[in-house]
Protein backbone atom coordinates (compact mmCIF):
# COMPACT_ATOMS: atom_id res chain seq x y z
CA UNK A 1 0.00 0.00 0.00
CA UNK A 2 3.05 2.22 0.17
CA UNK A 3 3.04 3.11 -3.46
CA UNK A 4 0.20 3.55 -5.85
CA UNK A 5 2.28 2.73 -8.88
CA UNK A 6 3.84 -0.66 -8.21
CA UNK A 7 2.56 -3.86 -9.79
CA UNK A 8 1.05 -5.11 -6.50
CA UNK A 9 -1.46 -2.30 -6.69
CA UNK A 10 -3.58 -4.28 -9.16
CA UNK A 11 -4.58 -6.51 -6.24
CA UNK A 12 -6.22 -3.51 -4.61
CA UNK A 13 -8.38 -2.66 -7.58
CA UNK A 14 -11.94 -3.88 -8.00
CA UNK A 15 -13.37 -4.24 -11.46
CA UNK A 16 -17.08 -3.92 -10.82
CA UNK A 17 -19.65 -5.20 -13.21
CA UNK A 18 -21.87 -2.15 -13.59
CA UNK A 19 -25.36 -3.07 -14.67
CA UNK A 20 -26.51 -0.49 -17.25
CA UNK A 21 -29.47 1.71 -16.35
CA UNK A 22 -31.39 0.41 -19.38
CA UNK A 23 -31.33 -3.13 -17.92
CA UNK A 24 -32.71 -1.92 -14.58
CA UNK A 25 -35.44 0.04 -16.37
CA UNK A 26 -36.44 -2.99 -18.42
CA UNK A 27 -36.52 -5.24 -15.35
CA UNK A 28 -38.56 -2.71 -13.34
CA UNK A 29 -40.94 -2.38 -16.31
CA UNK A 30 -41.33 -6.15 -16.51
CA UNK A 31 -42.00 -6.36 -12.76
CA UNK A 32 -44.67 -3.65 -12.96
CA UNK A 33 -46.27 -5.39 -15.98
CA UNK A 34 -46.30 -8.76 -14.20
CA UNK A 35 -47.92 -7.16 -11.13
CA UNK A 36 -50.71 -5.89 -13.39
CA UNK A 37 -50.90 -9.36 -14.96
CA UNK A 38 -51.34 -10.89 -11.48
CA UNK A 39 -54.35 -8.65 -10.86
CA UNK A 40 -55.77 -9.21 -14.37
CA UNK A 41 -55.41 -12.99 -13.99
CA UNK A 42 -57.25 -12.72 -10.69
CA UNK A 43 -60.29 -11.21 -12.47
CA UNK A 44 -60.70 -14.59 -14.15
CA UNK A 45 -60.28 -16.64 -10.99
CA UNK A 46 -63.77 -18.11 -11.23
CA UNK A 47 -63.01 -19.45 -14.72
CA UNK A 48 -59.56 -20.62 -13.65
CA UNK A 49 -60.97 -22.43 -10.63
CA UNK A 50 -58.35 -24.55 -8.92
CA UNK A 51 -55.71 -23.18 -11.31
CA UNK A 52 -56.02 -19.63 -9.93
CA UNK A 53 -53.58 -20.34 -7.11
CA UNK A 54 -50.87 -22.01 -9.24
CA UNK A 55 -51.18 -19.27 -11.91
CA UNK A 56 -50.68 -16.51 -9.32
CA UNK A 57 -47.77 -18.45 -7.83
CA UNK A 58 -46.19 -18.96 -11.26
CA UNK A 59 -46.32 -15.22 -12.06
CA UNK A 60 -44.80 -14.50 -8.63
CA UNK A 61 -42.02 -17.01 -9.37
CA UNK A 62 -41.19 -15.28 -12.67
CA UNK A 63 -41.07 -11.93 -10.86
CA UNK A 64 -38.85 -13.44 -8.17
CA UNK A 65 -36.48 -14.74 -10.86
CA UNK A 66 -36.17 -11.23 -12.33
CA UNK A 67 -35.40 -9.74 -8.90
CA UNK A 68 -32.84 -12.44 -8.11
CA UNK A 69 -31.03 -12.36 -11.44
CA UNK A 70 -30.90 -8.64 -12.08
CA UNK A 71 -31.53 -6.66 -8.87
CA UNK A 72 -29.62 -9.09 -6.65
CA UNK A 73 -27.01 -9.60 -9.39
CA UNK A 74 -27.04 -13.40 -9.31
CA UNK A 75 -26.72 -13.30 -13.08
CA UNK A 76 -23.22 -11.83 -12.80
CA UNK A 77 -22.32 -13.42 -9.48
CA UNK A 78 -19.92 -16.28 -8.83
CA UNK A 79 -21.06 -19.88 -8.62
CA UNK A 80 -20.52 -20.08 -4.85
CA UNK A 81 -23.27 -17.55 -4.20
CA UNK A 82 -25.55 -19.27 -6.70
CA UNK A 83 -25.04 -22.59 -4.94
CA UNK A 84 -25.63 -21.00 -1.51
CA UNK A 85 -28.88 -19.54 -2.77
CA UNK A 86 -29.93 -22.84 -4.39
CA UNK A 87 -29.24 -24.66 -1.10
CA UNK A 88 -31.82 -22.49 0.64
CA UNK A 89 -34.46 -23.37 -1.92
CA UNK A 90 -33.47 -27.03 -1.93
CA UNK A 91 -34.08 -27.36 1.80
CA UNK A 92 -37.28 -25.38 1.52
CA UNK A 93 -38.40 -27.88 -1.12
CA UNK A 94 -37.46 -30.79 1.19
CA UNK A 95 -39.56 -29.24 3.98
CA UNK A 96 -42.48 -28.73 1.61
CA UNK A 97 -42.24 -32.19 0.05
CA UNK A 98 -42.21 -34.16 3.30
CA UNK A 99 -44.91 -31.99 4.87
CA UNK A 100 -47.17 -32.55 1.86
CA UNK A 101 -46.45 -36.29 1.80
CA UNK A 102 -47.31 -36.43 5.49
CA UNK A 103 -50.58 -34.50 5.14
CA UNK A 104 -51.65 -36.33 1.97
CA UNK A 105 -51.13 -39.83 3.38
CA UNK A 106 -52.86 -39.33 6.72
CA UNK A 107 -55.74 -41.65 7.46
CA UNK A 108 -58.72 -40.28 9.30
CA UNK A 109 -59.15 -42.24 12.48
CA UNK A 110 -62.29 -42.18 14.55
CA UNK A 111 -61.87 -42.71 18.23
CA UNK A 112 -63.83 -45.74 19.48
CA UNK A 113 -64.46 -43.94 22.75
Amino acid sequence: MASNNNSNNEANVLHPHITPMSTYLKVAGALFALTFLTVIAHQFHTQLGALAGPVAFLIAAVKAAFVLLYFMHLKDDNNTNRVIFATGFFFLFVLFLFSVVDIATRVVEVSPL
Binding site: Y24, A28, F57, F71, N81, F85, G88
Partner: protein, 220 residues
Protein backbone atom coordinates in the same frame (compact mmCIF):
# COMPACT_ATOMS: atom_id res chain seq x y z
CA UNK B 1 -9.25 1.91 7.92
CA UNK B 2 -10.27 5.55 7.90
CA UNK B 3 -6.69 6.81 7.45
CA UNK B 4 -6.29 4.52 4.49
CA UNK B 5 -9.40 5.88 2.87
CA UNK B 6 -8.08 9.38 3.22
CA UNK B 7 -4.70 8.62 1.66
CA UNK B 8 -6.04 6.47 -1.17
CA UNK B 9 -9.53 7.83 -1.64
CA UNK B 10 -10.25 5.94 -4.84
CA UNK B 11 -8.64 2.62 -4.03
CA UNK B 12 -10.17 -0.39 -2.36
CA UNK B 13 -9.17 -0.98 1.23
CA UNK B 14 -7.87 -4.51 1.55
CA UNK B 15 -7.50 -5.91 5.06
CA UNK B 16 -4.28 -7.86 5.59
CA UNK B 17 -6.01 -11.26 5.88
CA UNK B 18 -7.36 -11.02 2.34
CA UNK B 19 -5.41 -11.88 -0.80
CA UNK B 20 -6.80 -9.03 -2.87
CA UNK B 21 -9.73 -6.65 -3.20
CA UNK B 22 -11.83 -9.14 -5.17
CA UNK B 23 -11.48 -11.82 -2.50
CA UNK B 24 -12.42 -9.35 0.22
CA UNK B 25 -15.47 -8.21 -1.72
CA UNK B 26 -16.57 -11.77 -2.52
CA UNK B 27 -16.18 -12.85 1.12
CA UNK B 28 -18.39 -10.04 2.34
CA UNK B 29 -21.03 -10.72 -0.25
CA UNK B 30 -20.95 -14.45 0.46
CA UNK B 31 -21.79 -13.71 4.10
CA UNK B 32 -24.83 -11.73 2.97
CA UNK B 33 -25.98 -14.61 0.77
CA UNK B 34 -25.68 -17.07 3.66
CA UNK B 35 -27.84 -14.71 5.70
CA UNK B 36 -30.35 -14.62 2.81
CA UNK B 37 -30.67 -18.41 3.00
CA UNK B 38 -31.79 -18.11 6.63
CA UNK B 39 -34.35 -15.51 5.54
CA UNK B 40 -35.66 -17.76 2.76
CA UNK B 41 -35.99 -20.68 5.18
CA UNK B 42 -37.71 -18.58 7.86
CA UNK B 43 -40.36 -17.17 5.52
CA UNK B 44 -40.43 -20.44 3.57
CA UNK B 45 -41.45 -22.42 6.67
CA UNK B 46 -44.41 -20.08 7.22
CA UNK B 47 -45.34 -20.35 3.53
CA UNK B 48 -45.33 -24.15 3.77
CA UNK B 49 -47.65 -23.89 6.78
CA UNK B 50 -49.87 -21.55 4.80
CA UNK B 51 -49.96 -23.98 1.84
CA UNK B 52 -50.95 -26.90 4.07
CA UNK B 53 -53.75 -25.13 5.94
CA UNK B 54 -54.94 -23.51 2.74
CA UNK B 55 -55.26 -26.99 1.29
CA UNK B 56 -57.25 -28.17 4.32
CA UNK B 57 -59.53 -25.09 4.63
CA UNK B 58 -59.71 -23.50 1.14
CA UNK B 59 -63.09 -21.80 1.73
CA UNK B 60 -62.02 -20.26 5.02
CA UNK B 61 -58.89 -18.81 3.39
CA UNK B 62 -61.01 -17.45 0.52
CA UNK B 63 -63.26 -15.70 3.04
CA UNK B 64 -60.20 -14.21 4.74
CA UNK B 65 -58.73 -12.97 1.45
CA UNK B 66 -62.05 -11.31 0.54
CA UNK B 67 -61.92 -9.26 3.73
CA UNK B 68 -58.64 -7.68 2.59
CA UNK B 69 -58.56 -4.77 0.16
CA UNK B 70 -56.46 -6.07 -2.74
CA UNK B 71 -56.02 -2.53 -4.11
CA UNK B 72 -53.95 -1.56 -1.06
CA UNK B 73 -51.80 -4.67 -1.47
CA UNK B 74 -51.47 -3.89 -5.17
CA UNK B 75 -50.29 -0.31 -4.53
CA UNK B 76 -47.86 -1.61 -1.91
CA UNK B 77 -46.46 -4.11 -4.43
CA UNK B 78 -45.80 -1.32 -6.93
CA UNK B 79 -44.23 0.84 -4.20
CA UNK B 80 -41.88 -1.96 -3.14
CA UNK B 81 -40.88 -2.83 -6.71
CA UNK B 82 -40.09 0.83 -7.36
CA UNK B 83 -38.05 0.96 -4.14
CA UNK B 84 -36.10 -2.11 -5.27
CA UNK B 85 -35.39 -0.34 -8.55
CA UNK B 86 -34.08 2.80 -6.80
CA UNK B 87 -31.99 0.62 -4.47
CA UNK B 88 -30.46 -1.22 -7.44
CA UNK B 89 -29.60 1.98 -9.34
CA UNK B 90 -28.00 3.50 -6.23
CA UNK B 91 -25.31 0.80 -6.48
CA UNK B 92 -24.68 1.65 -10.12
CA UNK B 93 -24.36 5.33 -9.19
CA UNK B 94 -21.85 4.58 -6.44
CA UNK B 95 -19.85 2.38 -8.82
CA UNK B 96 -19.72 5.30 -11.26
CA UNK B 97 -18.80 7.78 -8.47
CA UNK B 98 -22.07 9.68 -8.95
CA UNK B 99 -22.49 10.12 -5.21
CA UNK B 100 -25.21 12.78 -5.36
CA UNK B 101 -27.42 10.59 -7.55
CA UNK B 102 -26.75 7.62 -5.27
CA UNK B 103 -27.88 9.64 -2.25
CA UNK B 104 -31.08 10.69 -4.04
CA UNK B 105 -31.80 7.06 -5.03
CA UNK B 106 -31.24 5.84 -1.45
CA UNK B 107 -33.45 8.61 -0.01
CA UNK B 108 -36.20 7.64 -2.48
CA UNK B 109 -35.89 4.03 -1.33
CA UNK B 110 -36.39 5.05 2.32
CA UNK B 111 -39.39 7.17 1.30
CA UNK B 112 -40.96 4.19 -0.53
CA UNK B 113 -40.43 2.06 2.58
CA UNK B 114 -42.21 4.72 4.64
CA UNK B 115 -45.14 4.83 2.17
CA UNK B 116 -45.38 1.03 2.38
CA UNK B 117 -45.47 1.10 6.18
CA UNK B 118 -48.10 3.89 6.21
CA UNK B 119 -50.43 1.87 3.99
CA UNK B 120 -49.76 -1.18 6.18
CA UNK B 121 -50.61 0.87 9.27
CA UNK B 122 -53.98 1.91 7.81
CA UNK B 123 -54.71 -1.69 6.82
CA UNK B 124 -53.92 -2.98 10.32
CA UNK B 125 -55.93 -0.32 12.15
CA UNK B 126 -58.89 -0.96 9.84
CA UNK B 127 -58.70 -4.70 10.59
CA UNK B 128 -58.49 -4.06 14.33
CA UNK B 129 -61.47 -1.72 14.04
CA UNK B 130 -63.48 -4.54 12.44
CA UNK B 131 -62.37 -6.95 15.17
CA UNK B 132 -60.35 -9.11 12.76
CA UNK B 133 -57.73 -10.34 15.20
CA UNK B 134 -55.50 -13.42 14.87
CA UNK B 135 -56.34 -16.83 16.28
CA UNK B 136 -58.82 -17.13 19.12
CA UNK B 137 -58.90 -13.34 19.59
CA UNK B 138 -61.17 -13.23 16.56
CA UNK B 139 -64.76 -13.60 17.71
CA UNK B 140 -66.39 -15.33 14.73
CA UNK B 141 -69.94 -14.52 15.90
CA UNK B 142 -69.14 -10.85 16.49
CA UNK B 143 -67.51 -10.25 13.09
CA UNK B 144 -70.15 -12.36 11.29
CA UNK B 145 -67.62 -14.86 9.93
CA UNK B 146 -68.93 -17.78 7.89
CA UNK B 147 -66.11 -20.00 9.10
CA UNK B 148 -65.55 -20.44 12.81
CA UNK B 149 -61.78 -20.77 12.34
CA UNK B 150 -61.31 -17.53 10.36
CA UNK B 151 -58.88 -16.51 13.09
CA UNK B 152 -56.36 -18.91 11.57
CA UNK B 153 -56.28 -16.95 8.32
CA UNK B 154 -55.59 -13.78 10.25
CA UNK B 155 -52.97 -15.61 12.28
CA UNK B 156 -51.14 -16.23 9.02
CA UNK B 157 -51.90 -12.73 7.76
CA UNK B 158 -50.48 -10.94 10.81
CA UNK B 159 -47.49 -13.28 11.16
CA UNK B 160 -46.49 -13.01 7.51
CA UNK B 161 -47.12 -9.30 6.98
CA UNK B 162 -45.91 -8.42 10.49
CA UNK B 163 -42.61 -10.24 10.05
CA UNK B 164 -42.31 -8.71 6.60
CA UNK B 165 -43.11 -5.23 7.95
CA UNK B 166 -40.43 -5.67 10.61
CA UNK B 167 -37.96 -6.41 7.80
CA UNK B 168 -39.06 -3.26 5.96
CA UNK B 169 -38.44 -1.19 9.12
CA UNK B 170 -35.01 -2.75 9.67
CA UNK B 171 -34.22 -2.24 5.97
CA UNK B 172 -35.22 1.43 6.20
CA UNK B 173 -32.88 1.84 9.18
CA UNK B 174 -30.02 0.18 7.30
CA UNK B 175 -30.60 2.31 4.19
CA UNK B 176 -30.62 5.44 6.39
CA UNK B 177 -27.21 4.32 7.64
CA UNK B 178 -26.09 3.88 4.01
CA UNK B 179 -27.43 7.33 3.12
CA UNK B 180 -25.45 8.97 5.94
CA UNK B 181 -22.28 7.15 4.90
CA UNK B 182 -22.89 8.00 1.23
CA UNK B 183 -23.25 11.71 2.01
CA UNK B 184 -20.14 11.46 4.21
CA UNK B 185 -18.26 10.15 1.17
CA UNK B 186 -17.46 6.66 2.46
CA UNK B 187 -18.51 4.92 -0.74
CA UNK B 188 -16.93 5.18 -4.18
CA UNK B 189 -16.14 3.14 -7.27
CA UNK B 190 -13.75 0.94 -5.27
CA UNK B 191 -15.83 0.48 -2.10
CA UNK B 192 -19.58 -0.17 -2.14
CA UNK B 193 -19.91 -3.54 -0.39
CA UNK B 194 -22.31 -2.26 2.36
CA UNK B 195 -24.58 -0.78 -0.33
CA UNK B 196 -24.58 -4.09 -2.21
CA UNK B 197 -25.23 -6.09 0.99
CA UNK B 198 -28.10 -3.96 2.26
CA UNK B 199 -29.39 -3.90 -1.34
CA UNK B 200 -29.57 -7.70 -1.42
CA UNK B 201 -31.43 -7.63 1.92
CA UNK B 202 -33.88 -5.02 0.60
CA UNK B 203 -34.50 -7.05 -2.56
CA UNK B 204 -35.27 -10.20 -0.59
CA UNK B 205 -37.82 -8.18 1.40
CA UNK B 206 -39.35 -7.16 -1.95
CA UNK B 207 -39.16 -10.74 -3.18
CA UNK B 208 -41.07 -12.05 -0.13
CA UNK B 209 -43.79 -9.45 -0.68
CA UNK B 210 -44.06 -10.56 -4.32
CA UNK B 211 -45.26 -13.92 -2.97
CA UNK B 212 -47.31 -12.54 -0.06
CA UNK B 213 -49.43 -10.23 -2.22
CA UNK B 214 -51.12 -12.86 -4.46
CA UNK B 215 -51.26 -15.48 -1.70
CA UNK B 216 -52.88 -13.31 0.97
CA UNK B 217 -54.82 -10.68 -0.98
CA UNK B 218 -55.93 -12.43 -4.15
CA UNK B 219 -56.08 -16.20 -3.99
CA UNK B 220 -56.54 -16.47 -0.26
Amino acid sequence: MSTDNITHVRSAHVSHHFKDATQEYDSGKQGIWLFMVTEILMFGAILVGYAIFHHIYPDMFAEGAKSLDWRLGFVNTLVLIFSSFTMAISISFVQKNQIRNAAIALATTILCGAVFMCIKYFEYTHKFHLGLYPGHYLDAAKVGAHHANLGMYFGFYYTMTGLHGLHVLIGMGLITWLLIRTIRGDFHSQYWLPVEGVGIFWHIVDLIWIFLFPLLYLVG
